[in-house]
């Protein structure tokens, strides 16, 4: 196997930059061959998944076309729905960028759920207990979220790097621990005694995220997500660190041989991804719920993995992938209310799309090699 390296010409944008050759994490190899082809592939996989799901809807005795019409209306039907979908996309995009960087370096971090939980916890603690910081309260809470998320990712990285336990296992097991820590604290010192539900007292209003669009729920989190996409793209394609990540994606052994400290890079990329997940957790608390609620991060971890993957582990493409999932969920929730088709169909569509995309990528690699 040859490993010639091509760096992108300066000034070119992310999805057309020639990637480090061969085997670059997941979909990177096809992006290198043809960005458009990968996009078409993902779109085809999504359509195929919708088609199979339509059969399932029909089997459960509902009309697929009216279900999908309700889904589209629920996603795009009004300014409020669009605002809801954009808010929904925000944590997926933020965490998706971090996970895309990890996956690019073959560090299979699936710990976003726990990192979001701990990030949200840290942000809540700052917002509740440091109201003497009126002007900088929001930034302070978000920074606390980033530190919380990064710290949680650090725990996984230590066990993985120092003790050789696979990152999939450490991050996944820590998800459960993180969620339960939040639950434990919400039943104790952080809880709102009168609520009857495990949640914190409501945050002071000066800690609430400002609205982007007055009169809707849309908060400024989506802007943070876009900044994260741009930053992630810059790091991956324009920095030495990003080059090292891509090199690790080729082969950890090759990167070691080239003098790259894979353990240092693993730590760094895990901390970055953890911090982004932590920020996402802080934004959920400060922008959506205005309080910490037990289970607020449930399901986010796998959704973020799906977004990173559908975005071809390319930060720029994580943006449309995250928006897709956000709008899909917004649509599915209202479809469930309108026509009674369960919203868990989102997971069916996402899971199927991932299997289709992964298979066709694997297949195209096989064809090239023969």
């Amino acid at each position: 196997m040859t490993t010639t390296h091509q760096e992108g010409p300066p000034g070119s944008t992310g999805d057309t930059v020639p990637v480090v050759k061969r085997e670059g994490g997941m979909l990177a190899k096809s992006i290198r061959a043809n960005g458009l082809r990968t996009m078409l592939l993902v779109v085809a996989a999504v359509l195929l998944a919708f088609a199979v799901t339509a059969v399932l809807i029909a089997i459960s005795g509902k009309n697929p076309s009216s279900a999908y019409w309700a889904l589209i209306k629920g996603a795009f039907g009004s300014t409020d729905r669009i605002a809801f979908a954009l808010n929904r996309s925000t944590p997926y995009i933020l965490t998706g960028v971090g996970i895309a960087l990890c996956f690019r370096a073959k560090v299979i971090n699936i710990g976003a759920e726990g990192q979001i939980a701990i990030g949200g916890l840290a942000a809540t603690a700052v917002a509740l207990y440091l109201p003497q910081l009126p002007l900088v309260l929001i930034p302070a809470a978000i920074v606390a979220g980033a530190i919380g998320g990064a710290a949680w990712a650090w725990v996984a990285a230590v066990i993985s790097v120092k003790r050789g336990v696979h990152v999939v296992l450490t991050t996944l097991l820590l998800n459960f621990v993180g969620l339960l820590i939040v639950g434990h604290l919400l039943h104790g010192i952080l809880g709102d005694p009168g609520a009857g539900f495990p949640q914190s007292p409501i945050l002071p209003e000066m800690a609430w995220f400002p609205k982007l669009l007055p009169g809707t729920d849309l908060h400024i989190g989506i802007l943070v997500a876009v900044v994260a996409v741009v930053a992630g793209n810059f790091v991956l394609w324009r920095t030495t660190f990003g080059f090292r990540l891509r090199l690790m994606g080729e082969s950890h052994a090759a990167a070691d041989y080239a003098g790259v400290s894979t353990s240092q890079c693993t730590f760094a990329v895990m901390l970055i991804a953890g911090a982004m997940a932590g920020v996402a957790g802080g934004i959920e608390v400060l922008g959506v719920h205005y309080r910490l609620i037990e289970g607020f991060s449930l399901g986010f971890g796998f959704s973020a993995v799906a977004v990173a993957l559908l975005g071809a582990t390319n930060p720029v493409a994580v943006l449309p992938a995250g928006l897709f999932l956000g709008f899909l969920e917004a649509g599915a929730l209202s479809m469930q209310r309108e026509v009674g088709v369960p919203s868990s169909l989102v997971f069916v569509i996402v899971g199927m799309t991932m299997v289709f995309v992964l298979s066709s990528i694997g297949m195209s690699t096989r064809l090239r090699r023969v």
């Binding site: 399932l56 459960s60 050789g164 621990v177 339960l180 796998f302 868990s344 298979s359 090699r369």
Partner: protein
């Protein structure tokens, strides 16, 4: 500690270890043949669901068990085709299948039984006392007065132990260690891997049946709750050996048994802390073992004919 408490503790340990053991044995087959078994959690969930549905619709525990194994195997087949045939990334495909299983089971549960949170309930599997042996003092009650699937789980571990030493087992291991060599002696590593993953899925499905049919008598969304990943940890603890994996599963079972004891003593420990224990213990054990064990040499990489 008086005798009754001890019996209760050991009995609980074995009961909790049983679903883990089925799933871990399934995962072990897949991993020894060269495919990471990350999707085992989804196969377990599919098995729990398939068993519950068959039990509800047909009312027979035999049909329930068959449906469990078939559902797990069906999901395994998806992983097998995607990874062995189409060379999809093994770990991420496993994650995708976990998401798919979560979605499908939750979707079909509502599709089949209606309502936003349908209630599915049935009788749990009966206890099957082993004649004579169950009358033994203490040991009889712990080991031989248990529901049938418990014997099946430990029996499967022993069976797989001997299977791996047989000719067919040797080929399975060759597909995981050095698929090129297996191919050179006329075996088809792709087919072996597909069979191993599908068989592993069936075992994992039975693990799900232990939960839904034997333990609780119902199905709820995401009821496996990370047990598939604990089973993966048990495989590592057992160093990819069936009998070692039994010990790994019993260790995690014992953790749960201890929780039961602690709760019984009425200590003021938060239920959250108690729920956290298995995951923390799994992490601690994995960290303590470190790089001790060795997975199959060719795990993670597809077999490509030269």
């Amino acid at each position: 500690m008086d005798g009754n408490v001890l019996v209760e503790f050991l009995g609980a340990s074995i009961r909790v270890a049983t679903p883990l053991l089925f799933v871990a044995i399934g995962g072990l087959l897949s991993e020894r043949a060269g495919t990471f078994a990350v999707g085992i959690e989804g196969m377990m969930l599919a098995g729990a669901f398939g068993g519950a549905v068959a039990m509800m619709l047909l009312g027979s525990s035999g049909a329930g068990l068959i449906a469990s194994a078939a559902s797990g195997a069906a999901l395994g087949f998806i992983v097998a085709i995607a990874t062995a045939k189409f060379h999809a990334d093994q770990i991420v495909t496993g994650l995708a299948v976990n998401i798919l299983a979560l979605g499908l089971t939750s979707f079909l549960l509502r599709g089949l039984f209606g309502g936003t949170a349908p209630v599915v309930q049935f009788e749990t599997l009966a206890i099957l006392p082993i004649p004579y042996l169950s009358n033994l003092p203490i040991i009889g009650e712990i080991l031989f007065l248990q529901p049938a699937l418990i014997y099946a789980a430990f029996g499967s571990a022993v069976a797989v132990h001997f299977f791996l030493k047989s000719g067919a087992g040797l080929l399975l291991r060759a597909a995981g260690e050095n698929p090129d060599a297996a191919f050179a002696v006329g075996a088809d590593p792709v087919r072996i891997r597909i069979l191993a993953i599908v068989a592993g899925g069936a075992f994992a499905g039975l693990g799900g049946a232990v939960l839904s049919l034997q333990e609780v008598g119902t199905f709820t969304d995401g009821m496996t709750n990370g047990r598939g990943f604990i089973a993966l940890a048990a495989i590592i603890v057992g160093r990819w050996m069936p009998l070692g994996t039994v010990i790994g599963c019993l260790m995690f079972g014992a953790v749960a048994g201890l929780e039961l004891l602690v709760q019984g003593w009425g200590l003021p420990v938060s239920s959250y802390v108690i729920q956290m224990t298995p995951y923390v213990v799994a992490l601690a054990i994995l960290a303590a073992i470190g790089r001790g064990g060795q997975a199959s040499a060719a795990i993670g990489s597809p077999f490509i004919r030269q």
